[in-house]
């Protein structure tokens, strides 16, 4: 490992290293859709929100100009921008594009921390001797992504993740009153400019400043990060508590020592679905549970994980949230076992007013350990013929077969008969 001084010596440059890059794709889903269908270029485009209850997954800059934002309801988006073209999201294509983009990142350095499909941090300190300064690496990435994938991205370059992330936002195309103007593409935050760059940002652009924290900070007269840096730590601690107060005080001084984490271990896997109309019928909810369990189990298996805590989330028609969970002794990656537990949880919930959203999450994840094999009974208890009655051995065989079929013919090639639904693609409407 090099330390910074050795590194400067090694590269023969007196220039500071600025090792952290934040790469963020510009209107990722929108541009992937336009790459597939060039007639959409230049038109206001909204990805997602094609159903009545849907939300906007991504909006083109033309639509953003009219005020459309991601996570906005499609109804509101249509009101703001009636001429917008809505296309439903196609996650498998986005996942593919994301993989191609990551190939570009990995051609520079293995130190890549994926944040989402369209966003990643890179630590390039060990790539400087190969590829030159981090500024030139940033441009190289931008060009390579454009040439290999045909998509635009913005790159922030700085000494920390906090600054790099703010810098990539600053590099993005800007929406002004006169329209959309091209962004810088690459924004470098040098050490000498760190304070002024950071302090000019509104305090809400800091991680950990949500609506509640912002309201408290506002009461202290804080609106920019510069304001925040002026507030004594003791005042922040008294308003926000010790941990949060100290943390924000450090961030306001640009003090962010988090490193680029190559692999974030998966802590939970979840899938959820918002219904177009409130659902009252148990049978509909049951088939959705089977479908969601299937998706969760397939993701577990694809990662070689098993989970021990199974949770059910319901948003009822009055928007109240119901969460129930149950833990099992031995971790599972089988949809039948997951759906059986969720149906058990469901039995204890009063959903007579209707269900708006249903979600299943599994936590307590661990790698699959030694597996006790089961005896292979040819025909077993034919009086119970539904999936939940399959023996564990049969469920395991079923899962292996399903995984093989999906690997060969695609995710939607086979689905649980009881679900009546298509397979949920990775990335589709997850809840964290």
């Amino acid at each position: 490992m090099f330390n910074d001084s050795e590194l400067s010596f090694a590269t023969g440059e007196a220039e500071e290293a600025l090792p952290i890059l934040h790469v963020d794709m510009d209107a990722f889903y929108v541009e992937v859709e336009r790459r597939r269908n060039p007639s959409l270029v230049g038109k206001p485009l909204v990805v997602g929100g094609t159903s009545v209850r849907g939300v906007v997954a991504s909006a083109s800059y033309e639509a953003r100009l009219k005020g459309v934002r991601s996570a906005m309801s499609s109804v509101q988006a249509k009101r703001l921008c009636p001429e917008a073209i809505f296309v439903s999201s196609d996650f498998s294509t986005y996942v593919e594009a994301s993989k191609e983009i990551h190939e570009v990142f990995f051609s520079i350095t293995p130190f890549v921390e994926t944040i989402s499909l369209d966003e990643a941090f890179l630590d390039v300190r060990h790539a400087l001797r190969l590829f030159g300064s981090s500024e030139s690496i940033a441009w190289r990435i931008k060009n390579d992504v454009w040439e290999t994938v045909g998509l635009d991205c913005s790159v922030g370059v700085a000494n920390s993740k906090l600054l790099a992330k703010l810098a990539s936002v600053a590099a993005k195309p800007q929406i002004t009153e006169s329209g959309v103007s091209a962004g810088l593409g690459v924004k470098i935050v040098r050490e000498a400019d760190e304070r002024s760059f950071l302090h000019a940002h509104p305090v809400r652009s800091l991680w950990g400043v949500g609506a509640a924290t912002f309201a408290k900070l506002e009461s202290l007269g804080v609106s920019s990060i510069g304001d925040l840096a002026q507030v004594p730590v003791s005042s922040l601690v008294s308003v926000l508590g010790v941990a949060h107060g100290k943390h924000l005080a450090m961030l306001s001084k640009g003090d962010d020592s988090r490193s680029v984490e190559i692999k974030r271990p998966t802590k939970s896997i979840s899938h959820e679905r918002t219904f177009e109309v409130d659902i009252h019928r148990y049978e509909v909810l049951k088939s959705e549970i089977i479908s969601l369990s299937d998706a969760v189990a397939a993701r577990l298996r694809s990662k070689g994980l098993v989970g021990k805590t199974i949770s059910l989330k319901l948003r009822l028609s009055d928007f109240s949230l119901v969460s129930r969970s149950i833990s099992i002794k031995e971790g599972t990656d089988l949809s039948g076992q997951i759906s059986a537990k969720v149906l058990g949880l469901m039995a204890k919930v009063d959903f007579s007013d209707g269900v708006r959203l249903i979600g299943i999450r599994i936590t307590g994840l661990g790698t699959k350990g030694p597996e006790q094999l089961g005896l292979d009974y040819e025909s077993f208890d034919q009086t119970e013929s539904n999936q939940l009655a399959l023996s564990v051995t049969e469920q395991k065989k079923l899962a292996i077969a399903v995984d093989k079929i999906r690997a060969r013919f695609g995710q939607s090639a086979i689905n649980p008969g009881a679900s009546g639904k298509n397979f949920r693609e990775p990335g589709q409407q997850r809840w964290a």
Binding site: G369, P370, L373, L375, Y377, S379, F380, D381, T383, V392
Partner: protein, 368 residues
């Protein structure tokens, strides 16, 4: 109601009946209690969760006949806590008074009229030697599943085989089969599935008796046992449904047969198991005239032991759940056992080297 009896005998009978009582009582709160009735000179104690009913009786000195339902857990704990000697129980209004030595308890009773009328045993009486049945049941009952999600596997299959009785249990990871050649309980071709929970209770009471009378009804089976101090009757509902076809799982021949002394292997497995923590299996390597046992738990440690055996087949390692292996070795009879394997992923068979009455089929653990 008022009676007097010996504390020790009362504890035994109360315990037997209360074991059928469910802790929750379910839809009938009165079922959290035991039903007591005295007439002539006999106390009858009934505990039931409607699936399993245990009626025990005991000769007592009756002062006043009558009946009552008393909270099961409490009365067992109270009577057990008393010193040996005379115990007197009387019911006054809705209170049960229990006194022994210088201790006096009063506890609220449950409404006696709420206690359900339980079906009476039906079917022809068949008398069986209790020792053979008790031993046979103990050999298989541990292989039954405790997972209520698959009710069929929580039972033990009793089937008539070639004039004798065959007992079979499986939790889908292992299978235990025991033949009792001389026991004629069922008609030829008949088979019933008895909940293992009821059989565990039966095993407890069989120890003190010479004979057991079996009555098989359409939906239930009753076992009557007479002991030194009284009698115990276990009635259980039968499990409905088809038991898995286990016969096809038992291979007719195995390429790798190891003959090994049972007790030394059992002790070695118990030692090595100490290092088979959590889900870690115990690995058995079959080598020339040796069984090599090994357990490795990451970040904890490992154990290794060799046991003499008779073997000249190819070297093969198979991993097992150590507890399942121990239960199989405990259940097998005779000084020597035969361990038969096919490969690391196929079921292995454990049986006695001397007789063919017991067979234990065990699935391996897959290790990556």
């Amino acid at each position: 109601m008022k009676f007097r009896c010996e504390r020790d005998a009362l504890v035994d009978q109360l315990t037997a009946s209360s074991r059928a009582v469910s802790n929750r009582g379910g839809a009938l709160p009165v079922l959290t209690g035991v039903f007591l009735s005295v007439d002539d000179d006999v106390l009858t104690i009934i505990g039931s969760d409607l699936d399993l009913t245990v009626r025990s009786s005991l000769r007592v000195t009756v002062i006043d006949p009558g009946k009552a339902v008393v909270p099961a857990r409490l009365i067992v704990d109270i009577v057990r806590s008393l010193d040996s000697g005379a115990v007197e129980i009387s019911i006054q209004g809705d209170e049960a008074k229990i006194s022994g030595g210088r201790s006096n308890f009063a506890l609220r009773t449950l409404p006696v009229d709420d206690f359900p009328i339980l079906p009476q045993p039906s079917g022809n009486k068949v008398t069986v030697t209790s020792e053979a049945l008790s031993y046979g049941l103990r050999q298989v009952v541990m292989a039954a599943s405790s997972d209520d999600a698959r009710p069929i596997l929580t039972g033990v299959l009793l089937s008539a085989e070639e004039g004798g009785l065959r007992l079979v249990a499986t939790d889908s990871y292992r299978l235990a089969v025991r033949d009792l050649p001389d026991a004629t309980v069922l008609n030829e071709g008949q088979k019933v599935l008895v909940p293992s929970r009821a059989l565990n209770e039966l095993i407890r009471v069989l120890g003190d008796a010479d004979e057991v009378v079996v009555r098989l009804g359409d939906r239930d089976v009753t076992f009557d046992v007479v002991t030194d101090i009284g009698s115990v009757q276990v009635t259980t509902r039968l499990i409905e449904g088809e038991f898995p076809n286990y016969r096809q799982l038992i291979p007719s021949s195995y390429p790798n047969q190891v003959v090994v002394a049972r007790e030394p292997l059992l002790e070695a497995v118990r030692r090595v198991k100490l290092m088979a923590r959590e889900a870690t299996p115990l690995r058995i390597t079959q080598k020339l005239n040796t069984l090599e046992l090994m357990a490795i738990t990451q970040d904890v440690g490992q154990a290794h032991e060799e046991v003499d055996a008779i073997y000249d087949g190819e070297e093969l390692t198979v991993a097992f759940n150590a507890e399942y292996l121990i239960q199989g070795l405990e259940a097998a009879t005779g000084d020597e056992v035969v361990l038969e394997t096919l490969d690391a992923l196929k079921p292995a068979v454990l049986r006695s080297n001397s007789g063919g009455d017991f067979l234990y089929l065990l699935m391996p653990v897959r290790v990556s």
